[in-house]
Amino acid sequence: MSVLSIGLLYGAATLLVMFAGMPIAFALGFVATLFMMLFMPEASVDTITQNVYEEMASITLLSIPLFILKGAAIGRSRAGQDLYGALHAWLHRIPGGLGIANVFACGLFAAMAGSSPATCSAIGSAGIPEMRKHGYSGGFASGLIASGGTLGILLPPSITMILYAVAAEQSLGRLFLAAIGPALFLVLLFAGYSMWRFRHEFNIAKERLKTTGATSPILQVDELSARDKFALLPRVLPFVLLLTGVMVALYGGYATPSETAGLGAVLALGLIATIYGVWKPIELSPILISTLRESTMLMLIIGMSLLYSYVMSYLHISQSAAEWIVSLQLSRWILLTMILVMVVVLGFFLPPVSIILMTAPIILPPLRAANFDLIWFGVIMTIVMEMGLIHPPVGLNLFVIKNIAPDIPLRDVVWGVLPFVALMIMAVIIMCFVPEIATWFPDHVMS
């Protein structure tokens, strides 16, 4: 049987079992094992468990559960609400300051917790009601939080980035640094849009007041004292110090990424124990159990995705597909566009972890041949996958918003996120023209 036929069969079998609803981890393992039995030497089937173990036993990959633990410890405490409250107190005088406070809080929290849904949930549970109380429309408030939450998979310690570093054999430290510039750029774009949108909604409310006399809370200005500004700082600053400390440990050469993850988890548990008094087993149990469940699910997907890629490579499917793409001799920008469109389509159905591990062997060689910087591409691909978290039909963050603000109709949420999707597309296009947004910082720090 030709490689093309085997490749098509492999793809069709994967689609069939996945769309039948088989859990992704088992679907990938099932198809890989089946094809090993059918098309590979018998001895290779005997090594499946060893393969999976050896791929999973990478200390870099195993930092993932520990980063999840750090995120869960911070995410399940009141740190998110306090962070948001503190930023609100400092930014409330700026027009649209409440929205901007939410964007900044999402960015900071995402960097501390490293999780997109956790950021949405932690900042949104306080931020959405507050914005609506101040007259912001439900769609705008929810769109802002859903989009701000996506920064969780871009800012370090992003799990998506860890996997990309492993799959593309790129430096994780460099990749983490490369994400900071684009994340700040997105924060600025989101904040700028928030200001504009606030003015727009403010003007509508003012017009309505003139014509009908109906007042809106958006027209009122909050009066917060200096005391309000400083009240939450003692609770928030230690977490910001934790964020800084972890970065210093990583980039100062004191700790490897996995040690940073362990250290971050221990410090986060220590902080929630001292600041919020969360230390009893009964209080820690939900944090630990949720970490374990999420880690187990993700690590099994990762292990089986790696087995799946191994089989794809052994049967020359990935190499042939990559060679075919190269032979098309597409212009580099058309190649990039096609790959990104494919990532968007895959994002409708698959989580970023699977997208990266399943597609990396096929898409990276043509990108390398087209002289793309793979660190830069990792950031671009992550931003595109961020969009998958907020655009229909799946949009994980949309479900999180539905849970924390069930009275906002899904239609409003979807309309609310669309401008942010447009901003992300704009950011990707700008970064194609100005790649230094991503590459300058790592080049500067790591020479």
Partner: protein, 184 residues
């Protein structure tokens, strides 16, 4: 995360979850609870081991060679051992795009076929893990690091974990079969 998939996995299932009952279900439930607690402790333990590595290296200037591997064993062990507990709540995320469009009866059959295929894969993987474990014990396999811990430790955790997972899926198949008459 990327992560946060747990939230997605907690969406309402397309097929009703049947309550497992009987001694098999009770034993599995108890085991899963025990494994979840010990695996959680293992994760925290791995964090402390890695923190200890940083502290000893930079403050006490001691070189260490065992921390990475202990952490790997603890985390890989926790992941495999708790996979059954995650399966018990159908927490291993899958694509549910088409599932929601199917009638209940068709969905029941689909779920049954998926569970049987999952069981076949997990049982096969558990069996292969057992063979690997046996080989590691007999041949005295060790890791290639300077510390060289025996590989039967993580292999045994992988074997037991996959065995528990297979039993959990089997329990779900049996439970669904028992409730087949309730599905219209």
């Amino acid at each position: 995360m990327v992560h946060g998939l747990e939230e997605a996995a907690e969406q309402d299932p397309a097929v009703p979850k049947f309550e497992a009952a009987g001694p098999f279900a009770r034993v599995m439930g108890g085991l899963n609870r025990l494994v979840e607690i010990s695996s959680s402790v293992a994760l925290v333990g791995a964090s402390f081991v890695l923190t200890y590595a940083v502290v000893t290296r930079y403050f006490l200037h001691l070189s260490t060679d065992w921390q990475d591997e202990v952490s790997v064993f603890l985390i890989v062990g926790a992941v495999f051992m708790s996979s059954a507990a995650v399966q018990a709540r159908r927490g291993h995320v899958g694509i549910e795009a088409i599932v929601g469009l199917l009638p209940t009866r068709v969905n029941y059959v689909r779920q049954m076929l998926v569970d049987i295929a999952t069981f076949a894969f997990c049982a096969y993987f558990a069996w292969k893990s057992l063979l690997l474990l046996q080989e590691a014990v007999v041949e005295g396999y060790r890791t290639s690091s300077t510390w060289q811990p025996p590989l039967w430790v993580p292999y045994s955790l992988m074997t037991v974990g996959m065995l528990l997972l297979s039993l959990q899926v089997l329990l779900q198949v049996i439970t669904a079969l028992r409730h087949s008459s309730e599905v219209r």
